[in-house]
Each structure stands twice: as structure tokens, then as C-alpha cells.
């Protein structure tokens, strides 16, 4: 593959979906010198020395953008590294990932931002954009040096993993960052309400005897943050929205014209708390299989009505984008009792297959879903990043080629991610990345990719 890195790439007869430009048609794309040199028109003669990819039956879209991934480095390299996380991203079809700052040390200074960017460059897979801390040391007490973080390359601010409990600190963060133009993202969880909770409050938590997290723990803090965004004019990005009750709050904020955006995770769209009972939600499993710690995640998997509301909100645009909240863990962190287990799911490599489920169920169109994986998240990042999510001629060639109908079985042993923690292990998904092209280079290709040499393709 290495010799093909700098060769032109021609993708033939793919369904081109470029939501930013309302393109959805079958055509060819030619990439040269890391940029898109032609998109749409059929190219009869492939340029000399080019790699020709048969795109028939496949969708070619701008590379996916993930606003929310935990790459664990520095500090927790036994869970994931920037390199393995980037490989997982490439396998999942993501060409840009925003990494969360709950590392050790946290990303709260120029030095750590530069470290992350250097490691990402060295691994040479996908674009990694660091998210800086809101508060110094992620301690929720005083603001981090937000402008320094911005200048060194941070694209958003978040204390993710820990909610910003202090309303005044959140207010200051929104106000101070308003002129930097960067969104402040909050992990919305009122700790008094969530208490010792380890899964969604409800019938399943009652049956399993696990402390529940009420939906109000999320709704109340989203309501607070929207009020603060309104009074400060700051940009609020609501991380991993999971409750039906939070949707009307975000919708209302948008109607008021506030600068509020929201993301949702694939698992909150597709699976529920019933999966904690075992047998992957197909009904009650054998008792031994209950308390599946791979279902433990924050926000918790909720009820069917929540998932349905979230899908509808993603379809109507109330929710701007899909974000993975990729949270890889080592095995020991999950091979314990449910209450002792770490929160988090390894998502990057299943995100597309999961997110396509509502498309296959005809509850969201394929073009809209692609928008929520590309132009949607780019919009949250701001105008500066619009070129990351387009197939427009002349832009950097970040492209995802996927088969929306390919059925496959999840096997976490095959993950590039060190995190094998997924409740989807062994399940069938429909839709998979076939190739990921980052800055004009193929950084991932599946065995299903059909590559022809230029000469043979004429």
C-alpha cells in the first residue's frame, strides 16, 4: 500500500453524498496531490499511475468527523494510545477525531496540546484535534488558560468525564470563550441526582438492584447550561445527549436562536438498558449473563422511548451530529462487578454500522445520516473547519467509502482499538467502512475493496 500513498486515486461509479453541497448522485472522484481534483463527472481515462477503485454499490462521502473520542494518551496508554485510537478511527471511517482532555496530565496547557498533536502526526493516520480543558487540571475550580489552548490548537473546551457542577464556572467559561469562537461542551450530569447510579433508572435497574440514574440528572443540567448560554452569548455544545426530556430543551434553545448544538452517540440511538439483563436485549437471558459490564456507560443506556425520541431529533436536526464517545478500557476495568466496572464503550469501529440501523428502519435518510457524521459536526467546530466535510474540488481529500448494506458480525478481537469493551460483540451490523482516505492517502481498506490498476481499468 505504501507505494500507492502518493499516487492519484480514482473512485469510479460511487454514490457521492456531499451534504454540505446537497450532492447525492452517482459519479467519479479523482484525488491527486492529497486534494480532490474532480468530483462528479465520469472520468473515462484514469490518469497514469493512479489507483482505481470500483465504487459501485458504495457510498463516497466526506470523511466522518467525531467530536468526542477518548484516546487515553497521555496517562492511560494501557487502554488506548493516539496511534491505536487513530487506527480504530480509520477503520470506522473517521478522518477527523476530537480527543477529550481527561488524560493524565489533562489537556489543560499548550505543552499537552502539542504533545497530542505531535503523536497524532507521528502515527500518520487521521486528523486529531484536541479538546482542551475548561478548568485547570479538570478540577472544576478555576478556568484553564483558554486562549493559550485555543492558540495551540484546541478546537473546543470540555471537562468531559466530569460535569461542570459549579454553575458560575460554567457561566464564566461560556462568557470568556464567546470571543474565541470555540464551543464549550459539558457532560451534563447533576452529581447529586446521579448519586451512586450505574445505569438508567427504570424497571431494569429495579430488577437488577442496581442504583439508577434519573433522566433529570441530565435534563436539569442541560436546562441550566442553556440558560447560561442565553445570558452570556457563549457557544454551548451539549455532549452525548441521552434522554427524551433533553430534546425539547435543545429544540427550544435553537428556536430562540441561541448558539447551542448537541451530539448523540450511536449506542443511545440503538440499544437500551434491557441489554444489561443479558442476551443483548433479545429478551431475558440466562441469569449468568446479566450484569454485562460492557453495557455500563455514561450517560447510561436508556429506554426504548428515549432512543426513539433521539432518532427523531437527529432526523429533524435538533441534534446536530453523531459523536462516538469512544471510551476504550482494559479488560480488568470491566471484568469486575457492575458497580465496580468503568463507564464506557469502545465505539469507533461499530459507529457506522450502528448509526445505519435507523436508516435501514426508514426513520432517517441516508443523506441525513451522512450529514450528521460530516457537515453536522464540522458546523459545531465552526466555519474554519467547513472544508473538512466536503467533496468540493480543491479541498483536502478526506473521504470515507462505505457499503451501507454489507452485513458483518462484530468481533472485538479484530478491533484496532485496544478497547474491546463493546456490548455489540457477536451481533450482526449492516453497513461497514470499505476504505478511509485521509489527506489523499488510503489509511484503511477492507478486504472488500476492489482496487484495479490504472491500465487495467480503461
Amino acid at each position: 500500500m505504501s507505494e500507492s500513498l502518493h499516487r492519484p486515486i480514482l473512485i469510479r461509479r460511487a454514490r457521492l453524498i456531499d451534504p454540505g453541497r446537497q450532492v447525492d448522485s452517482v459519479g467519479d472522484i479523482l484525488l491527486a496531490d492529497g486534494r480532490i481534483s474532480s468530483c462528479g463527472p465520469v472520468i473515462d481515462v484514469a490518469p497514469e499511475g493512479s489507483v482505481v477503485i470500483d465504487g459501485s454499490g458504495l457510498v463516497a462521502s466526506p470523511g466522518f468527523i467525531d467530536l468526542h473520542a477518548h484516546l487515553r494518551e497521555p496517562g492511560y496508554e494501557y487502554k488506548e494510545t493516539i496511534e491505536t485510537g487513530s487506527q480504530a478511527a480509520a477503520r470506522g471511517g473517521f478522518t477527523t477525531i476530537c480527543c477529550m482532555p481527561n488524560t493524565d496530565p489533562p489537556i489543560d496547557s499548550e505543552a499537552v496540546v502539542e504533545f497530542v498533536l505531535r503523536r497524532a502526526r507521528d502515527s500518520g493516520m487521521v486528523r486529531v484535534l484536541p479538546v482542551g480543558c475548561v478548568s485547570r487540571g479538570r478540577k472544576g475550580k478555576e478556568l484553564a488558560d483558554l486562549e493559550e489552548l485555543h492558540n495551540s490548537g484546541a478546537v473546543a473546551f470540555s471537562d468531559d468525564g466530569d460535569p461542570i457542577q459549579d454553575a458560575n464556572l460554567m457561566r464564566m467559561a461560556l462568557a470568556y470563550s464567546a470571543d474565541l469562537g470555540l464551543p464549550v461542551s459539558n457532560h451534563c450530569q447533576d452529581l447529586h441526582l446521579s448519586g451512586e447510579g450505574v445505569m438508567a433508572e427504570g424497571a431494569v435497574a429495579t430488577r437488577l438492584g442496581l442504583p439508577g440514574i434519573p433522566p433529570a440528572a441530565e435534563d436539569a443540567m442541560i436546562a441550566r447550561d442553556i440558560a447560561l448560554a442565553q445570558s452570556t452569548g457563549g457557544r454551548l455544545h451539549v455532549a452525548h445527549i441521552s434522554t427524551a426530556g433533553s430534546v425539547p430543551l435543545v429544540r427550544r434553545a435553537k428556536e430562540l436562536g441561541l448558539r447551542v448544538t448537541a451530539e448523540v452517540c450511536p449506542h443511545h440511538l440503538t440499544i437500551t438498558d434491557e441489554w444489561a439483563m443479558g442476551s443483548q436485549g433479545t429478551g431475558l437471558g440466562r441469569a449468568e449473563w446479566a450484569y454485562d459490564t460492557s453495557t455500563k456507560v455514561y450517560p447510561p443506556l436508556r429506554q426504548r422511548s428515549d432512543a426513539e425520541t433521539l432518532v427523531a431529533a437527529l432526523a429533524d436536526g435538533t441534534i446536530d451530529c453523531i459523536a462516538t464517545d469512544h471510551a476504550p478500557h482494559d479488560i480488568a476495568s470491566k471484568q469486575v462487578t457492575y458497580q465496580d466496572a468503568a463507564f464506557g464503550i469502545s465505539v469507533l469501529e461499530t459507529a457506522l454500522g450502528s448509526s445505519l440501523q435507523p436508516v435501514h428502519d426508514s426513520r432517517i435518510s441516508l443523506a441525513t445520516l451522512v450529514e450528521r457524521l460530516t457537515a453536522g459536526p464540522a458546523r459545531v467546530l465552526g466555519q474554519h473547519y467547513a472544508t473538512l466535510a466536503t467533496l468540493a474540488t480543491g479541498t483536502e481529500a478526506d473521504i470515507t467509502l462505505f457499503d451501507p448494506d454489507l452485513k458483518w458480525t462484530v468481533d472485538s478481537a479484530e478491533f484496532a482499538s485496544k478497547g474491546k469493551n463493546t456490548p455489540l460483540d457477536g451481533t450482526r451490523l449492516r453497513g461497514r467502512t470499505i476504505a478511509t482516505i485521509s489527506a489523499g492517502r488510503i489509511v484503511y481498506q477492507s478486504p472488500q475493496l476492489i482496487v484495479q490498476e490504472a491500465d487495467a481499468a480503461v
Binding site: E201, G202, A203, V204, T206, R207, L208, G209, L210, P211, G212, P214, T272, E274, M277, L284, R286, A287, E288, W289, A290, Y291, Q303, R304, A332, Q335, V336, T337, Y338, Q339, D340
Partner: protein, 339 residues
Amino acid sequence: MTLPQTVEEHLTDEAMQADVLPLRRHVLDLDDYTPEELQATLSSAQGMAEVLGRDIKKVPALRGKVIVTLFYEASTRTRVSFEEAGKVLSADVINMSSSGSSADKGESLLNTGLTLQAMGVDTLVVRHPHSGAPNFLARNLDRVSVVNAGDGLHAHPTQALLDLYTVQSRLGRIEGLKVVIVGDVLHSRVARSAIWGFAKMGAQVVLSGPRTLMPLDFLKEDEQDDPAGLASRVEVDTDLDRAVEGAEVVMALRLQSERQSGGFLPSIREYIRRWQVNDARLAKAKPDVLVMHPGPMNEGIEISSGLAHGTRSAIEEQVTAGVAIRMAVLYQLNAGGSE
């Protein structure tokens, strides 16, 4: 020297229930029991009680079997009754607690389980503060039977079995009875298992207590889908006087004093006024209502002393039944298995 006698010569047919007791690997909760298996277990326990009534309380039924009680939480009656049950059946019983064991040195639950399995333990009786700890062990150990002796807020199946046994012994039946469970249902593994047991055997289960100590999904009025299958088996009436109307069984749950400091209750005094089970409260219950408590009791708080020690109380019988029930359970797991 006499030849070793067979099990059959020592245990009554009733205790063995050879035709009825199905094969079972683990006892994790009562949710996976059929009414028939519940009844077979109660009948088996009745035979075990006969053994306990003998002068020499010893049968060789489980000779050569090794049972470990692994307790990560304090316990008197549950632990001692499992130990006694195992010993009466001639099993070797080893007691382990988290303090003084490798758990103190940070050994994980999984590694402790694997270690005991490697030593050839047949049955692991587990109590743990975390819900699902016995399920976790059952999932990861392939040569050991796991018995749940109480896990977090989840389940306490042998307690529920002994409650069923006590009620059936005293009242002659379970089906059709009105059973009222009073108090802190939210934090009660005893209540959860009792709901499964009594409901499966055809009793009407009514819960009463403060709304703050009741699972929210039990309180919902509207018929909603109940994916977990528990909420639809109970009724809730927070007015205790109304709840006990016509009841044949009233079970008071232990009220932990930390519920007040935890903000669930204004005061213990107010709890006593509204939900203490006492003679005046039971005015509208059946005259011969059976009063139960899983223990340990806070006399004068969730139950009055007079009632706890009065003629309508079955609390002491519950304790006695505990040994017979645990014998039946250990016997089922270890002596069954002829496939």
C-alpha cells in the same frame, strides 16, 4: 465396620424429591424458578426439617463435597445456617470472609473465585455488597455452583424460599394469599426475591412504604411496558392501613438508620408513625395474620416488640426454616446432576 450407607437410607423421599427437583447449576435469584420447582424445593425442605428434628442431625448426602461460604458483608443467620446445612449433610464447609483473606490485599473477586475453583470447591455461597456479584462469578466459573446469599440490592433467594416455606407451613398454602411487604423496598434484596417467590406461587403482593423508598417504576400508575417483568407483579399502596386490609401475611423490612441521613425520610419518628407494623396497624388485616421479618430487627422502629414476639409472629420459625431450606438448596445443586 459398617459399610457406607447410601444417601437414600438417610434422607426421606420427600427430602430428595428425586422426580421433581430439576437440575440446577446455580441459585442466583428466584426469577428463573418455575412454580413447580419452588414447590419441589419447599417439599424437599420439609424432608430436611425432619432430619433436623432427629437426635443425631447428620446424613451422608453430601459427603466428599466442599462448600465455601464467601462473605464480603457481615451476616449471622445466613452464614451460620448455610454452614449448619452443609454440615448436617456431611459436606466439608469452609468459611471465608473478605477481611483476613486475600481480598484484603486487593485480590479481585474474579481471582478469588478462580482460586477457589482451582482448589476443587464444589459450591460457593456468596454474599457481596454489589448487586450481581454472584451472577458475575457464575458467568466466569465453569466448575463451581454459585449460591447467592444476598447481593447488594438485588436478591436473597434463600431468604425468600424460607419465607415461602414458613408461610406454607403456617397457613397451608400460598396461592391466593394477600402478602404485604412494608418499608424500604428500594434498597431491599429481600423484598425483590420475595416478590418473585410469592408472585410466582400465586399470592397477591402489595407493597407499602414511603414513596422515597419505593422504586419509581413500581409507582407508575399507567400500564406501561415492563421489560424487566417485576413491576407488573406488584401493587403499591403507600397508605399502610389500607394496604393491610384483608392481608394474610405482613412482612416488615429492616429500616437502615442511614436512610434518614441519606435524605429519604424526614425522621425515624415519622416513619414509625406512618409505617411501623404494630397491633393497631393490623386491625384491618385477617385476625390470624402472619407477621414476618427477615432480621435483624430494629424492634420499636419497623416493627413493635409486642408484635415481633407475639403469637402472630413467625419470625423465629423463619430462622429455623432457614437451615432446612439451605439444606434443600445445597442438596439440589450437589446431589442432583445425574443427567
